[in-house]
Symmetry: none
Subunit: 195 residues, 4 copies
Amino acid sequence: MKRDKPKYKQIIDAAVVVIAENGYHQAQVSKIAKQAGVADGTIYLYFKNKEDILISVFREKMGMFVGKIEEVIAGNRTAAEKLLVMIENHCKILSEDHHLAIVTQLELRQSNKDIRLKINEVLKGYLLVIDKILTEGIEAGEFTSDLDIRLARQMIFGTIDEMLTNWVMNEQKYDLSSQVPAIHKLLLNGCGFRN
Amino acid sequence: MKRDKPKYKQIIDAAVVVIAENGYHQAQVSKIAKQAGVADGTIYLYFKNKEDILISVFREKMGMFVGKIEEVIAGNRTAAEKLLVMIENHCKILSEDHHLAIVTQLELRQSNKDIRLKINEVLKGYLLVIDKILTEGIEAGEFTSDLDIRLARQMIFGTIDEMLTNWVMNEQKYDLSSQVPAIHKLLLNGCGFRN
Amino acid sequence: MKRDKPKYKQIIDAAVVVIAENGYHQAQVSKIAKQAGVADGTIYLYFKNKEDILISVFREKMGMFVGKIEEVIAGNRTAAEKLLVMIENHCKILSEDHHLAIVTQLELRQSNKDIRLKINEVLKGYLLVIDKILTEGIEAGEFTSDLDIRLARQMIFGTIDEMLTNWVMNEQKYDLSSQVPAIHKLLLNGCGFRN
Amino acid sequence: MKRDKPKYKQIIDAAVVVIAENGYHQAQVSKIAKQAGVADGTIYLYFKNKEDILISVFREKMGMFVGKIEEVIAGNRTAAEKLLVMIENHCKILSEDHHLAIVTQLELRQSNKDIRLKINEVLKGYLLVIDKILTEGIEAGEFTSDLDIRLARQMIFGTIDEMLTNWVMNEQKYDLSSQVPAIHKLLLNGCGFRN
DNA sequence: TATGAATGAGGCTTCATTCAT
DNA sequence: TATGAATGAAGCCTCATTCAT
């Protein structure tokens, strides 16, 4: 499998660096190849085309992302706690990788509709995690029973995303983690939380 | 003033149609000119360059937008009511202009950093409306007094934006207005609403 | 006759200023119209097209030029004296009109072959003055009798032209008139002068 | 080094042909590529932009030019002889390459100020050759000791240039070489030659 | 005569992708 | 597998000229 070979990951990582440092529209295949230390043509032994690189970037990084979040969530019992560690870890991962933060919050959004549709496919894993927390929360009586899961999910995802995008656009100047409790509380309230 | 001449608006409207129907990256100046019923060169009597067209589209439409919302809000007393009519009208305007919905929620986001920075300038007007509602709500005791206005604004804007983007990406198949009360309730709860 | 109307000269003079200050390729018709204080379309009531403006600039200015030189030459007796006052006056006219110097020595040379052929037609008047001096000089025994008039004319014109172009390219920093005696002597020697 | 690769010279030569046959302003990059037998994009692997092609044409050809002249001059002893072979060879090279003659005498002069400044840099090599001949001639007593080298250089260069331009504008109809002795004599006289 | 808004043709350059080695 | 030289399609913008007023 190509995805297991070292050059595959090498190219993905190079793409993240190049996109973060040059911007989406200035991330030419030749720049990515140079950053990865391979020839332009070599890229095409591992990826079908440029679009495939971009989607793969998102899939690989987001996969790691969702995996990590599912892992940490598992160690908690209540929906409220799970929501908290989800937000905490989301913020933590992006805080620790500034390049990745720029790429996912700003640059990859400039891609065209086709690519964004495929990115949305990848995002579904994250949305499922949210849905699961919401379902559990309702069942456990933590959240109001008339909660519209789809809308609540949009609130949770939209709020976190907006907060992160603002943070990145402000050049990641302030500390993200200090905002987590307040955001958590806003979202819990939104979901009609009572304990 | 050029902005008052009929051809200015004619070109802006043509741009919205062309971008919505062809996508951001396929919206060539020549297509916009053709749609507007003018020669290519005529575009440049009213706009400095292509970037200027795109920013102007956003500014004109968003300006109308914020103006409309400020207007309808003025007729209401409580922050909760104001928030409701704001969401209602936001949804109503986009529901009535599918092309505009596609352009603002999907296509213009593909623009480069320069254009997006200018678009963000325009968006500030909308964010100020939200802030005003929040401040009034806190002062009136409708919202919890320890509400972080910046985070609450990010929640409100992020949630509405995410809801709208989902709606547009689902090809505007379902009715937006029916979701407004539930979203309104989610956001009110988030703000610690009590009456 | 159009050439006698005030706007004709007004446009010619505007063209000299615009070309000198902006360069040949940046001298748009609209700039010339603005400088002349007329509308773009008015230009075309006095000139067939842009090429006609440029050729007219050269014809009007060069005509004045050759007229002036013929006039001052007439007051002298020997070919050597005539050559001297010709060079003196050529330098004097350009020294007194920096814009004209830039236009004739640098900018109009960027015109295409068609225009340059027509400019050469105008230049013939100047070359005839040189030829006349040379013929008189030979007949009077001042110049060597085996002088090839065509080549000598090329030497005289080429030398003066090169000197002037160097002066203009050096931003007219040094005094032209002080070089006249030395250039005069070089050219007289070239013609085999003896008195 | 790109300049040593065969395609570099191939494109330079194609540019000379295209400019000579179509004129400076009709020498599109695509025409040059076609004449060179390469794709349009290939041009940009060897040249930064169109301006770079034009300057390179002049530098390569003029470099060859000055090199050749320095070479043949070296085999002569007196300044008068050196001046003669310089003129002879200048005429010979252009006589043997009609395209190059058109390009250097007529077409490249239509370029804008930036390009001409860079062309002038290249020309300095030629002017230095002239200066060296003049200095040697004065030291050897062949030329008058009060000769102003700068003005004499302007005479020599201006005269040769004017003669060549006339020849090219007359469509190279007459034989250049037959004029060389007379021009040589004119210039020697101008320099106060005595042997 | 005078205006000036409108026209529309034309070319340099980038960059994803291929393929001979 | 790996290379990297070569390809070629595609679009923004300028500006001389016209013509309805």
